[in-house]
């Protein structure tokens, strides 16, 4: 890929002021200032978790005098551990179901000659234009009628349903461009459609699946509206809703809230840092076409 190779700068240089060293310096300064503006709030948030209430009120800029880890322990016990666990369960399950149903559908639409293929494609992709907020009130009655109110299932099912369109879009676009040599070879060798799907096509789709899984995880982990409305039991709340509830509880002990926020932000940041390559690469595979 052209972009990953080091650019031969010596070949040709543009003329003009912007390229001169002044232009370069200004550009760097701007970049750095923006980077600081982006990172500093997060640093502030973390430092505040170590302060005492009085310090927080007295001196917003300063460093904490003592590193109060007990704030973090308190936040953990007040519910962060429970909320984290719930988020992991709901996110994990919905990632699996979304990827599974979406790849099945994408494969069928691109490889099998199913009846009503056109209509189904429009149905599945058109769902991207419909948003959770719009469906909130009717879903209310529906979830209650299905007796899944206040359960993990409500969220898992909804997260899957609302993300299938986008995931199908990604996987389908990728599958369309896959060369069919290997599949044809497998079919000639006598493999069933199912086997071709699992053993040939899915491994080939690994990049887009990883990217789709990461994007789905990001969505489910941070989803708010459904989690707010359909989960009532404190023990089942996912992280975003739990944190909001925590804000209502620790009305007078703010460092504990900051500690909770910091702990809650870490998993996704770590996941992103670890999976950055796949994530960006997946984005380029999915969007670059």
């Amino acid at each position: 890929m052209a972009g990953n190779v080091a650019r031969p700068n010596h070949l040709a240089s543009p003329r003009g002021a912007v390229t001169g060293s002044i232009g370069r310096v200004i550009a760097y300064v701007v970049l750095i200032v923006i980077a600081v503006a982006i990172i500093y709030p997060l640093v502030w948030m973390t430092l505040n978790g170590f302060k005492s209430n009085a310090e927080l009120f007295g001196d917003a800029w300063g460093l904490p005098t003592k590193w109060r880890w007990e704030n973090f322990v308190k936040a953990w016990n007040l519910g962060v551990v429970r909320y984290l666990l719930n988020s992991v369960i709901v996110t994990g399950a919905s990632v699996v179901t979304t990827i599974l149903f979406s790849s099945l559908a994408a494969y069928a639409l691109t490889r099998l000659r199913i009846p009503f293929a056109g209509a189904i494609t429009v149905l599945l992709l058109g769902g991207m234009m419909l948003a959770p907020t719009v469906a909130l009130i009717p879903l209310f009655r529906l979830i209650q009628a299905l007796h899944i109110f206040d359960t993990y299932w409500a969220l898992i099912i909804l997260y899957t349903a609302f993300r299938i369109p986008f995931t199908v879009f990604l996987i389908r676009a990728y599958m369309i461009t896959l060369s069919r040599e290997m599949e044809d070879a497998a079919i000639v060798d006598g493999a069933s459609r199912w086997q071709v799907f699992w053993l040939v096509v899915m491994p080939l789709c690994r990049p887009i699946i990883v990217s789709a899984a990461l994007l789905q995880a990001l969505f489910a982990w941070n989803e708010f509206v459904f989690a707010l409305v359909f989960i009532s039991d404190t023990n089942l709340k996912t992280l975003p809703v739990g944190l909001l509830a925590m804000q209502g509880r620790v009305l007078s002990d703010w460092p504990v809230l900051f500690a909770a926020l910091t702990m809650a932000a870490i998993p996704m940041i770590v996941l992103f840092l670890l999976g950055q390559r796949q994530f960006i690469r997946g984005l380029s595979e999915g969007f670059g076409k």
Partner: protein
């Protein structure tokens, strides 16, 4: 077609069945149900629904909060396009052109991080940053000698929604920037070489080469930011819940408040129908625009 293969074709529907069923029941059916629900007046406490026909829509049109919320969503969309798409594109170009190697990766990572953090976390964090007494922003302004600019950012009708919009840009500009970086990396370097040899400046190269060739990505980025702008809920709910005096409501939070605070579920359903119409129109319009000419070079 033989009996066997016809059966085979229909059994292939099983592949798409889970996806189709889930979508039909949980995504499409609610849209229809919404329209029905908006024709009644009902709430959590009313023993039965009362038919009111189009009353909810009439009230909607006369409701100043609805229009203010709509305005807020539009403001959100406009600012997001300018800052995230325009700014993101520019930042991406600067990063790609002027920074290389490890440093580029560093900046890219740093800018992107806010986008992976939950809006609840950033919302609560910025609630503190905007706090008039101990928040970072007022302290910063005071420290820079700009004390006169200090406000109760989330507490004044004039500044509340703009403060939230600003937070949203902080959160998402890195995300859009990375999308553009991805798109820019596909542009063959030779084009730039040729232009520079012909005597172009960097800004000219940016305008004539970069911008047209990332057109697809620009459209995609605009679709994401504009539809996102009309669906805003999380950050507003967390930071101000629509206040003060309903000034920072967006259509989403006004829907929620109508349903779960003001005991007006039918009215909320009407708002949902409006949101639906707007987002559908926005998607269709932008899809249409995307069918424009492909750049040849």
């Amino acid at each position: 077609m033989s009996e066997a293969s016809r059966l085979g074709r229909w059994s292939m529907l099983l592949w798409v069945a889970p996806a189709v069923v889930l979508l039909a029941v949980f995504v499409y059916y609610p849209v229809v149900d919404n329209i029905l629900l908006s024709l009644y007046r009902w709430d959590a406490f009313s023993p039965k629904d009362v038919w009111v026909g189009l009353d909810n829509y009439v009230n909607l049109a006369a409701d100043p909060v609805f229009w203010s919320a709509l305005f807020n969503n539009v403001a959100y969309a406009v600012v997001s396009v300018v800052v995230q798409v325009g700014g993101g594109l520019t930042l991406a170009a600067v990063l790609e052109e002027l920074v290389h190697g490890r440093l580029k990766g560093f900046f890219r990572t740093v800018y992107f991080i806010p986008a992976v953090i939950s809006l609840t976390i950033t919302g609560l964090l910025f609630q503190f940053i905007y706090n008039p007494q101990i928040g970072l922003l007022n302290q910063l302004l005071g420290g820079l000698g700009l004390g006169a600019l200090e406000h109760s950012w989330l507490g004044e009708s004039a500044t509340a929604i703009w403060s939230i919009i600003a937070m949203s840009q902080w959160q998402s500009i890195g995300y859009v920037m990375v999308l553009f970086i991805v798109a820019m990396q596909r542009i063959p370097r030779e084009l730039y070489e040729a232009a520079y040899i012909d005597g172009a400046t960097r800004p000219q190269a940016f305008r004539r080469i970069t911008v047209p060739l990332v057109r697809e990505m620009s459209v995609l980025a605009m679709i994401i930011t504009v539809s996102g702008a009309f669906l805003v809920f999380n950050e507003v709910q967390v930071m101000t819940a629509g206040g003060p005096n309903n000034s920072s409501h967006t259509l989403g939070t006004w829907l929620y408040k109508s349903a779960f605070f003001n005991d007006q579920m039918g009215y909320a359903a009407a708002i949902a129908v409006v949101i639906f119409l707007i987002t559908i129109t926005v998607s269709i319009v932008q899809l249409f625009l995307n069918r424009g000419k492909v750049v040849q070079y």
